[in-house]
Symmetry: none
Subunit: 223 residues, 4 copies
DNA sequence: CATGAATGAGTCTTCATTCAT
DNA sequence: CATGAATGAAGACTCATTCAT
């Protein structure tokens, strides 16, 4: 093995290591930001605190993120992706029946709100009322989720052979669903410690939803 | 009219005028704060800007309000009272029937969200994600509204002779209602300019609600 | 008694009352200022607090005193006069002997430092390090006291027939005396609660002084 | 010299330079504060002015000092150390005889009051009557100096074989010495430009002191 | 790429002083 | 004279961002 080759190998190894380290650094910073934003609030958290908790320097934060806002925006999208995967990962593999919806509520409440209290706080509280830039990204993520729900509702409706209704009604329904779950996330998981019985709430939520959807879609009682 | 009497009248007039002026100043400041918080955002608005718009000095703001936070908190409670009066003023004079609920949605969307876009923005966006103090007051107001809705739901349920259900179910229902309307306020009135047809949305919302409530309360189809 | 006379009488009475009230108001304000300056410090006391404690309005303070500084300056001169009367009132009626000095130390420590802790604090702490204006007045008062002491020392020296020494030596002696008592006022009465035995300290102070003066004036042992 | 070694040297040099620069910045700021506090007064000096004079930014001042008060406190301790070194540096190397005290007065007046007019003003005027925090540190420094003097007096007394006297008498003596010199610092060096003849004053001061101490310690006439 | 000291614009807040009533 | 609400200049302090090493 000649010197050139050895060098190449070394570069290769070190490049990989650097990429790993870089990825690790970015994660550290995001995790630190998430923890502190949730704990102390976005405005009350300084970049220095984030850097300290992530065990990097202030300058390093600015290598990987444009500015403080950018940290929040990245967290918003990260959380949006997690929620999307959580909700649709299972759903896509299902029969797209109306019953498949049954699980989504419980998954959101258990696997998101309960399991990720800090993400919950950031998405439903700390990312609201900051700058126009942050608001824009939050809006995109929520509209994405709303649209996803709307499309699934349409699929389900078609699968059960319901009569066609205007697109705007599906949108409205999706807005309702998002609002209901957002409010539960705030009311039960941020303001109160956590609800007594998630399963019960989840069941009742679905019961409410089916009744409402059934009435709105004019498909009679969906069970 | 003798001198004594005239003097009394003069005192009375000047006292009244002072009170009017004081009230006017407080209102000016709150209006200016409301306008600027909605327009530029709470964090991006300085006390000096508020004072300028209200045509008072910076010091005067601090005579009537403890600090910047206090302005936001006062606005939150003011908006909470407005919403309460709007919703329950009419309802109390009604027969408390399930149909009386019909109007509430439309009133909220038309007389609050549409008529007071700045109050809407402040309550559903700018007052979120600030300090713990602000959050506490926002929480109080929303819990108040939620509790009010819960109690009305119970009254209506009793009036139609439905079978008794747990208190927590009414609370859950109220949380749903608040979440649905909050999300409509944000989605249709802050993010989009305004919905095409408020009447239609309002009608569909109630249809959804009746279906959902009916299903959840197990009272069969309420119509 | 005709109307005119009655009126005159009334005016006279009311004028007297007014003067009494005015004097009372000025005293109230000065007392309030003294108490608060000593308690919270000059810089940490606001005119509003002084007005509140004196049970007058903020505006009234400014009728009787040019500004906040003026309050402190008036207090400085008031205290200066009290100290002067305390020290020289008795001394003037004495035989101006060296023994007459004996009492002065004890009078200062007991009748000023111990009896007027607030005046002590204001004169030796709160009136120092403020503005050039305040400093100027404090300087005047202390130089007045220093000069008084110097003159008495000269009188005593003459009365015991000591040999003449330069004027500057008397001044130096007076500076020492002022410094010693000022430091006792601070050290024992402000920093420590109060000394264990004022009589003992007073006695030793005089013993020290007599020894020092005797040595400096070259008059041998003064007893 | 190989590369490795050069690199080490470079690191060493840059680290040293940084330390020098940091030390230099802290000194610049303290010097600027000292000059301005003495010239305009503590209250009349703004942080911005200090930063300007020190040729650093406002933020840099806050990197090295907690707040404005902290600047004054650091100056107080710095001055306290300078005075201590000035007084005891020479004394410790002496025979601890009563004559060794002779120089201390002159050293203080010449090498402190006359040579450091700004430090003199800060210690005896500007650091008085500010906040409780500042007062506490001033108290500590003066008590330290008083205790040092007291201990030296005891040593000298023992060295000349005087009869034992209570500890409190030494303390009182030390308080006198501090008070006399403090008052000279203020009277002659702050209020008057400077005394005509420091040597003469210094000589007389010691003469006074010896007489007073002699009398108080009951050791007879010390010459 | 990493560091972290330096920057300085930006803001809230205070409070002595004024003046219309 | 008395009042006390209004004034607004002044200043301490923060912290996101930069950049020389």
């Amino acid at each position: 093995m000649n010197v050139q080759k050895r060098r190449n190998n070394e570069l290769s190894r070190s490049t990989l290591r650097r990429q790993r380290e870089k990825q690790h650094r970015v994660s550290s910073i995001l995790n630190a930001a998430e923890k502190l934003f949730a704990q102390k609030g976005y405005n009350q958290t300084s970049i220095e605190e984030i850097a300290d908790l992530a065990e990097v320097s202030v300058g390093t934060v600015y290598i990987h993120f444009k500015n403080k806002e950018d940290l929040l925006i990245k967290l918003i999208h990260e959380i949006g992706n997690i929620v999307s995967k959580l909700l649709w990962g299972e759903f896509e593999e299902s029969d797209h029946s109306i019953q498949a919806f049954n699980n989504l509520g419980q998954i959101f409440l258990t696997n998101f709100c309960l399991s990720n209290p800090e993400k919950n706080i950031i998405f439903f509280r700390e990312s609201v009322g900051q700058s126009a830039e942050v608001e824009e990204h939050r809006k995109q993520v929520i509209i994405k989720i709303t649209t996803d729900i709307k499309e699934r509702l349409q699929i389900v409706q078609q699968s059960i052979g319901g009569k066609p209704i205007p697109d705007s009604s599906y949108e409205l329904l999706a807005v309702f669903v998002v609002g209901m779950f957002a409010q539960m996330a705030i009311y039960y998981f941020i303001w109160q410690g956590k609800p007594d019985d998630i399963m019960d709430i989840s069941y009742k939520t679905m019961s409410f939803l089916f009744g409402g959807i059934g009435n709105l879609l004019g498909a009679g009682n969906p069970h």
